[in-house]
Symmetry: C2
Subunit: 352 residues, 2 copies
C-alpha cells in the first residue's frame, strides 16, 4: 500500500472484496454457476428497450422509475409508494445498509448465506452479527435475539446456497421478536411456494426485496426493487443515487413485470427441471437439499467435490463450488435448461 492509498478506510482496506461467480464473456460455457435463467426473457422486453431507445437517451431518466412502480404495484397488489427501485437488488441492499447501519453497529445475518451481506457490513465499518443455520437449515432462535446496537437483520429467503425457505409464519415470528427491522431478500422468491410480500402490510419492520435477474431472466439489465411501508421508502430515497436506474432498464423492467403469463410458464419449467435433477444427483451419491430456488445445493458425504468442480470446468461446464467455514463444502448447481442439466449430469456420472 502506497502513501496515499493508506487513505482508504481501514474497514475497506482489510476487505478482500466480493468475488462474483465467474462470468466468462465468451459464449462457450454451460453456465450453471450464477443462477441465471436459461430461457430468454419475455419478448416484450426487447420491444420496450427498442421503444425507449427511440424515445432517446439524452435526457435523464425518471429518478424514481414511476412507470415501473405503477405496473409492479398493480401486479403485486401494493401501493406505488411502497416500492423503491434499484440498480439490481444489490443496490437495494446497499441503500438499506447505508441508511440504517453505521460504524460499530450490528447487521444480523445468517450463515451460510449470500456473502454480500457481510461485505456490506464491512464497507459500513459495522459488525457482521452472524447466526449459523442449524444443520437442517432451520434458523435457531438466536437469529431473532436482541443485541447491542443491532440496526438491521437480513434474511435470504429462499436462502443461498441451500435453496431452503422459511414459511411466512416463521418469518413473521422472527420479525416480531427482533428489536430491529428485517429485510427478507426474495431474490429467489418467484421460484418458491410461498413468499413474504403479504407481511409488509402486517408489520412495519418487515421489508421485502426482489430481483428481476433470476425469475425474469434479466441479470444483464440490473433491476431490483424493495417493497416496504412508505415511511421507509421516504427515508431510503435520500440515500439512493439520484438517477440509480437508467431509461432502458426502467422500460424493460416495466414490460417484464407486466408479462405475468411469461413468468408463470418460466416458473413451471424451472420447477419441473429442478425436480428432475434430484434423483440422478442422489443416485450419484450426492446429498441434495430440497430447493425452493433455481439451484440445488449438493454435498457429497463420501468424496471431495472441489475436484468435480474443476473437472466440470475443464469440460466448460461451470457450477459454483462453495466452501463455508464449519460446513461441508458443496456444489451449487443452477437449474438450467433440461439440455444443460443433462450435459452436467452426464459429465458428473462419468466423473463419480
Amino acid at each position: 500500500m502506497s502513501e496515499f492509498t493508506s487513505y482508504v478506510r481501514p474497514c475497506v482496506g482489510a476487505m478482500s472484496g466480493y468475488i462474483p461467480g465467474e462470468q466468462p464473456q465468451a459464449d462457450k460455457f454451460i453456465k450453471l454457476n450464477t443462477n441465471e435463467n436459461p430461457y430468454e426473457p419475455s419478448a416484450s422486453v426487447a420491444t420496450a428497450v427498442e421503444n425507449a431507445l427511440k424515445g432517446g437517451l439524452r435526457k435523464y431518466p425518471d429518478p424514481v422509475a414511476n412507470a415501473f412502480r405503477a405496473r409492479a404495484g398493480d401486479v403485486l397488489g401494493v401501493p406505488n409508494d411502497w416500492i423503491l427501485c434499484g440498480n439490481g437488488s444489490d443496490d437495494i441492499l446497499t441503500i438499506l445498509t447505508r441508511a440504517l447501519v453505521g460504524e460499530g453497529m450490528r447487521l444480523r445475518m445468517p450463515y451460510p448465506s449470500y456473502v454480500l451481506y457481510r461485505t456490506l457490513a464491512e464497507i459500513q465499518g459495522a459488525i457482521p452479527d452472524i447466526v449459523h443455520f442449524s444443520v437442517d437449515w432451520s434458523l435457531p432462535a438466536a437469529f431473532a435475539e436482541p443485541a447491542d446496537d443491532m440496526r438491521l437483520a437480513v434474511l435470504a429467503n429462499p436462502n443461498s446456497p441451500s435453496g431452503t425457505c422459511l414459511t411466512p409464519e416463521q418469518v413473521l415470528k422472527i420479525a416480531e421478536r427482533l428489536p430491529c427491522p428485517l429485510l427478507v431478500d426474495e431474490a429467489y422468491g418467484d421460484f418458491a411456494d410461498t413468499n413474504c410480500l403479504g407481511l409488509v402490510q402486517r408489520n412495519e419492520k418487515i421489508m421485502v426485496s426482489r430481483s428481476l435477474s433470476k425469475s425474469y431472466a434479466l441479470a444483464g439489465l440490473r433491476f431490483g426493487f424493495l417493497v416496504a411501508q412508505p415511511q421507509w421508502i421516504h427515508e431510503l430515497m435520500k440515500v439512493k443515487d439520484s438517477y440509480n436506474c437508467d431509461a432502458l432498464s426502467i422500460s424493460a423492467a416495466t414490460a417484464a413485470i407486466d408479462d405475468q403469463k411469461w413468468l408463470e410458464v418460466n416458473q413451471n419449467r424451472i420447477r419441473a427441471t429442478r425436480q428432475r435433477m434430484i434423483a440422478p444427483l442422489e443416485q450419484l451419491g450426492f446429498s441434495v437439499q430440497p430447493s425452493q430456488a433455481n439451484f440445488v445445493w449438493c454435498t457429497h458425504p463420501e468424496r471431495p467435490v472441489q475436484p468435480l468442480y474443476e473437472r466440470l470446468k475443464s469440460e466448460r461446464i461451470l457450477v459454483r463450488y462453495m466452501n463455508y467455514d464449519g460446513w461441508d463444502d458443496g456444489l451449487r448447481i443452477t437449474v438450467g435448461s433440461d439440455e444443460q442439466v443433462n450435459v452436467c449430469l452426464e459429465a458428473l456420472g462419468r466423473m463419480i
Copy 2:
C-alpha cells in the same frame, strides 16, 4: 417518524435528501435545467444497444466493463486498469466517499458547487468541510489547507453553477498542498479548453471522474468512469456493487466513446451556441459568467430572478433557479440547441 423508522441513522434522518432538477416525463418542455445535451447521441449508440439486446440479457454483465475500459483507455491514452466504470459518475462519487470517508472524517468541497458532495458526506456521517469560492470564482488557498482527519477533497472542474474552470497547473498545486487525495470531477470537462487527465500520471493523489451524460448526450444511460492510478482502482473495486453497470449501458458507452468525431462536432456546436448566448443575456442586464461548461450562470444585479424562473416555467421553458446562502441567486441556463436558446432568450426579453 414511527417507532421503527427511528432505526434510520441520525445522519440520514436529518437529511432533506438531494432534489434533482425537475424531470417532467412529458415531452412538452424546453429543458434547459439539467445540462442535458440537446442533440441525439452518436448513431452508433443505438446500434450497440440493439446488438447487446440480440446478445441477450439473461446473463450477468461483465462486472468491470472491460470492453469500455479497453476502448476508453485507447481513446484517452491511459492503461485499461486505470479506469473504474460506474452507473453514472454519481456512482463513482458514491464509491469514493464510501471507500475513503468514514464517520466524523472530513470531506473538503468548494461552495457553491455540486450539492451531491455535501449529501454524500452526510450519508457517511462525515463532516462537509466547505471552502467558499471567492467572488470571482477563484479558489482561496484555504481549499488546499490541511485539517484534522481530512480524507478526500472534491473539486468540480468546470464548476457548477459557475461554469468556471481552474487550469491544470492550479489543480496540480492544490493537490500538492493537500494532505489527502483530490477528485477532480470533470463531468463537464469535455466542454472546457483544458482538463486534468494528464495529472493522474504525475501525482498519485489526483483522480479524475468523467460522465457520459452531458458531452455524449447519454444522461438516460447512466454511465461514468474514474481515471486513477491502479492501486486506487483495486481498492475502489471492493466498494462498488458487483455488477454496477448493465450490459446495455456497457455496450452503448463503448460505442459512444469510440466515436470521437461525433464528440468533436458536438463540442463545437455547444461551444458556438454558448458563445452566442452571452451578448443577448448581457443586453438584458444579466451578469454572465464566462463558461467552460454546457451551461451559463446568470445573475441579475437589478432584479430578482426567481420570478423569471417561474414565468419561464409557466411558458414551459425550464431553467435552473439556484439560491446559495451568502451568494446572489441566479439562473443556470443549459446550452441547448440554437432554437431552444432563442425561445428562451425571446421569452426573457419579454419579461425584463
